[in-house]
Symmetry: C2
Subunit: 254 residues, 2 copies
């Protein structure tokens, strides 16, 4: 990629980019996937450009696949970031200077560093299934707990904040969990996911009653073993019913 960066940029839209907030859930924590840019201490969301013959949504799916190896993931466009200056914590000059030490003086001339509007997408992925992969531009790609996210490049902290707001709006109107939990899970695990996203506690019985009323869950004839005291039943989502509920909407009113 280093060698044909200019070729690549000839094949993409220049003023529009894509950035993805990829949420994962593990051990009761909501996480987000970040990349560290080579030769800098700056972290950013995974993102990229739209090929001339590719739709914005396809580009977002491609970027998600490149970074996580996952396809067919729930990916939602939530906001387009169109501020004149999208450099918040690191100035353009500061970033360019550091990158040129690694990539060579003039390497980015006329490309990348121009005003760009970025379309924000968020995705919910199952933590265990992801193999985070850096690209040619970055030397690290890993999960960060939401609470520990540092000052990011560009306006990416705002992007995460708005994605979280969108996710919370989403969870109030549509079911969540299909791509965030393993195939089989317990009711307390599902409740923990909802509590983590919404940053609130719910009554166990009311939660179970409401979620069962959506008619998207299948209670299995199987229990989680090895859990202290109790052996809770396992559940899984009925994919067809879940997808229908995504279309028609459900009201999470707790």
């Amino acid at each position: 990629m280093e060698h044909n960066l200019r070729d690549y940029f000839e094949k993409t839209l220049k003023e529009v980019a894509i950035d993805c907030v990829i949420f994962g859930f593990h051990a009761g924590e909501l996480k987000v996937l970040l990349l560290k840019w080579k030769g800098t201490d700056g972290w950013s969301l995974p993102g990229g450009h739209i090929l001339l013959d590719e739709s914005a949504n396809d580009a977002a799916n491609r970027i998600l696949m490149e970074r996580t190896g996952l396809g067919e993931i729930f990916l939602q466009q939530y906001y387009t970031f169109g501020a004149v200056n999208r450099y918040t914590h690191y100035s353009e000059a500061e970033l360019l200077e550091k990158l040129e030490i690694t990539f060579g003086k003039g390497f980015f001339e006329g490309i990348i560093f121009r005003r760009t509007v970025s379309i924000g997408y968020f995705a919910l992925v199952e933590f265990d299934q992801v193999s985070p992969a850096p690209d040619w531009f970055t030397d690290e790609c890993r999960w960060w707990n939401l609470a520990d996210v540092p000052a990011l490049l560009f306006d990416h902290n705002e992007m995460i904040e708005r994605a979280l707001t969108a996710l919370r709006q989403h969870i109030r109107n549509q079911p969540v969990g299909y791509n965030l939990l393993p195939e089989k899970f317990t009711m307390p695990e599902l409740q923990r996911l909802y509590e983590t996203i919404l940053d609130r506690q719910f009554d166990r019985r009311n939660f179970q009653k409401l979620l069962m009323s959506y008619d998207i869950l299948e209670k299995l004839d199987e229990k989680r073993v090895g859990v202290a005291n109790k052996s809770p039943f396992l559940y899984r989502f009925d994919k067809l019913k879940y997808e229908r509920a995504m279309e028609t909407g459900v009201a999470f009113s707790m």
Copy 2:
């Protein structure tokens, strides 16, 4: 503008545009503002380009102001349209041919007609306060009943559909009416607005009870006169409380 179109395009982003779905409400009908392009029978949403020193949101507000004369309007970004080909009912060649009859051969060479991603905004405006204004590019600007909207230029029919979906989502989580109704209105008028947007009927008492529970309405010591049979009380929104409800959200669960 005709004379310095090229200058104007030098000062704007080229691959990103803005389109606004401006909803108005009048006589129990939801309406949308459309423009007819000069020398064609093609109608479109009001839209435009983002100046290099202007944010996307500022551009949307400027466009809204130019078309309606209204400032400080609730304007919400709802989706960015990024398909590779956004010409649905009229092909690019067909449109260009008609426009060149009016504007001259080669007038648009290298400008306008290139792949553009468009950021969609919707606005809710008080029908009576708007003076629709065509721009240099269009010869008519007027309200259309939603039900009567013709086959539009580009993907603008899809834009209206998605805006309506976004408006319906919005009304389920936030109050609506401040910019759509006159300053003073009756409860049946407010109910009619909700019924029109959601395309459903509500029980009069339940509706009133729910809306009053939001604590955003002020019942006035005044009645609408000249209405057959009854003289219903007038209400108005308490602007501060309304704005707070926009922040915190309300659940319209009927």
